[in-house]
Every structure is written in structure tokens, then in C-alpha cells.
């Protein structure tokens, strides 16, 4: 008796979180540049995960290369330039 009850409770719990997971996965899909171009919503979970990992890695690479360029450019920061930059960023 108790096993049947606990089993049904377990299945309702996983049913709710499955829906929520699907919702998240579809939101993720919309973000990913690769997948957005695909017309249907029939993308496998593993593909979404793969594209998510690839996208995060490419964002990390972007940040790294931008840091490189900034370290070159900001070599001689004089105060007037710094304030101009700050005001540009604040827009």
C-alpha cells in the first residue's frame, strides 16, 4: 500500500519538474545562436546541452580576447581619457 502511494507521489513530482525543465530548455534554445535558425522546436536535449556549452565557451573566449585588447589600449590612461570613456559607457 505504502509503496504504491510513494510511487505515485514520486511520479507527480517528476512530472512537474519535467514541464519546468522543458520550459527552461526552450528558453535556452531561443538564446543559442545556432539553434535559433532551426525552424522547428524538435531539437534534442543533448543538442541543446552541446550548443549551450559551446556558446558559454565562445563567450569566455570573447571575454579573454577583449581583455587582451583592453590591456594594450589602456596602457596609457590619462585622466581626461578615462572620464570620456566612463561617460561613453554610461549611455
Amino acid at each position: 500500500m505504502s509503496t504504491r502511494r510513494s510511487r505515485s507521489r514520486q511520479s507527480t513530482a517528476s512530472r512537474i519538474s519535467d514541464d519546468q525543465i522543458n520550459d527552461l530548455v526552450s528558453k535556452l534554445q531561443q538564446l543559442l545562436p545556432e539553434i535559433r535558425s532551426h525552424r522547428s522546436d524538435k531539437v534534442s536535449a543533448s543538442k541543446v546541452l552541446q550548443e549551450t556549452c559551446n556558446y558559454i565557451r565562445s563567450l569566455h573566449r570573447d571575454i579573454d580576447s577583449l581583455s587582451d585588447r583592453l590591456s594594450e589600449l589602456l596602457e596609457n590612461t590619462d585622466p581626461t581619457q578615462a572620464s570620456i570613456i566612463r561617460s561613453l559607457l554610461m549611455q
Binding site: Q50, S67, S71, L73, L74
Partner: protein, 196 residues
């Protein structure tokens, strides 16, 4: 609604990043390029995480990870303020021991599961595709766990939710940094025109 929060995050990030750059780039006049790059990147990463104001797991994990490094500690404390509540919960040795314990438990659990599954599995062909698909998802989830700060200790649902937020935040960081690079290049060009 999302646009509003992202512009707020953007402004917070810029404010904290500029503050951090002032702290670390004014201390030594002649840093070598690599050192400056590391500081710029570190300031940006911490500024982004701190701008989240402890509302996400990834940002909390990123900051506690940064605090572990003694070199960075001064900078981080300065950026976050004296009342910063972020304290590394465990020392490195404790974390490694904890991970080893968790991992050996997982291996034991996994081998038990595999044995049970092998007994349940029918003719191998019909289950093979599903089995492979599941393995693929499992493997890629592991990769994602390593990419998202603090991902190792997240359940599947939180991992996806955090990954979403992490991606949105990273995009803001990239966008701001790129804007600064472009602005700098314009300024440097105009400078060279004045002096020529």
C-alpha cells in the same frame, strides 16, 4: 521586464568594473601587459558576479572561488565592500576530500545501477538508441556543470536555470567590454590625428 533588469545589471556592472579598474590599475604604473590583462579580466568577472547581488548560485560561487586566491583577496574585498558576506565555505583541502567522497559514492551507486539495468534490459538493439541518447545527455550535462561556476553541486533543474542566467550575464559583460574597446580605438585614432 527582462530588458529592464538587463539594463540595470549593465549599469551595475559598469559601475563596479570601473571602480575595480581604478583600484587595480592605478596601484602600479608599469605593469606588464599580461598582468594588466589578468587584472582587467578579474575586475570584470568579479564586477559582473557582484552586480547580481547574490541572487544567483553561479555569481556566489564565482566570488567565493575568487576569494580563495590570496592575490585577489585584497581586490575582491575592496570591490565588494567591508560587509561582504562571501566567505569560502571550505578550505581547498576540505573541498578536495569532500569531492573524493562524493565521487566514490557516485561510482558505487553507478555500478549498482548499471547492474540493475543490465538485468532489466531486453534485446540490446531496441534499447540501444535510448541508452546512447541518455549517455550523451549525461556526458554533456557533466561538461555544462564544469562551465557554469558552482555547477558541480547543482541539480539538473538549477543547472539549466543558472546556465541561462549565466549566459545572459556573460553577454552583457562581452557587450560592455566590446563597447569600451571600440571607444578606446576611436579615441586613440583621434589622438594620433591631433598629434600628427
Amino acid at each position: 521586464m527582462k530588458m529592464h533588469t538587463s539594463s540595470k545589471l549593465r549599469k551595475e556592472f559598469i559601475k563596479k568594473w570601473v571602480k575595480g579598474l581604478q583600484i587595480c590599475c592605478s596601484s602600479k604604473k608599469n605593469m606588464d601587459i599580461l598582468e594588466r590583462k589578468k587584472k582587467i579580466k578579474l575586475c570584470a568577472d568579479i564586477a559582473l558576479a557582484s552586480a547580481k547581488n547574490e541572487t544567483t548560485l553561479w555569481s556566489i560561487a564565482l566570488i567565493s572561488e575568487a576569494k580563495k586566491d590570496d592575490e585577489n583577496k585584497i581586490l575582491v574585498d575592496n570591490l565588494l565592500g567591508p560587509e561582504s558576506r562571501f566567505k569560502p565555505r571550505m578550505t581547498n583541502r576540505q573541498m578536495i576530500a569532500c569531492h573524493k567522497r562524493v565521487r566514490s559514492k557516485k561510482i558505487l551507486k553507478k555500478s549498482r545501477h548499471v547492474c540493475q539495468k543490465m538485468k532489466k534490459m531486453g534485446p540490446p538493439k531496441s534499447n540501444l538508441a535510448a541508452y546512447i541518447a541518455k549517455k550523451l545527455v549525461k556526458r554533456r550535462t557533466q561538461v555544462l556543470k564544469r562551465l557554469v561556476p558552482g555547477g558541480e553541486s547543482m541539480d539538473k533543474f538549477s543547472l539549466i536555470k543558472e546556465a541561462l542566467d549565466y549566459i545572459l550575464s556573460l553577454r552583457i559583460q562581452v557587450d560592455v567590454m566590446r563597447t569600451l574597446v571600440n571607444a578606446n580605438e576611436v579615441l586613440n585614432q583621434s589622438d594620433s590625428k591631433i598629434y600628427n
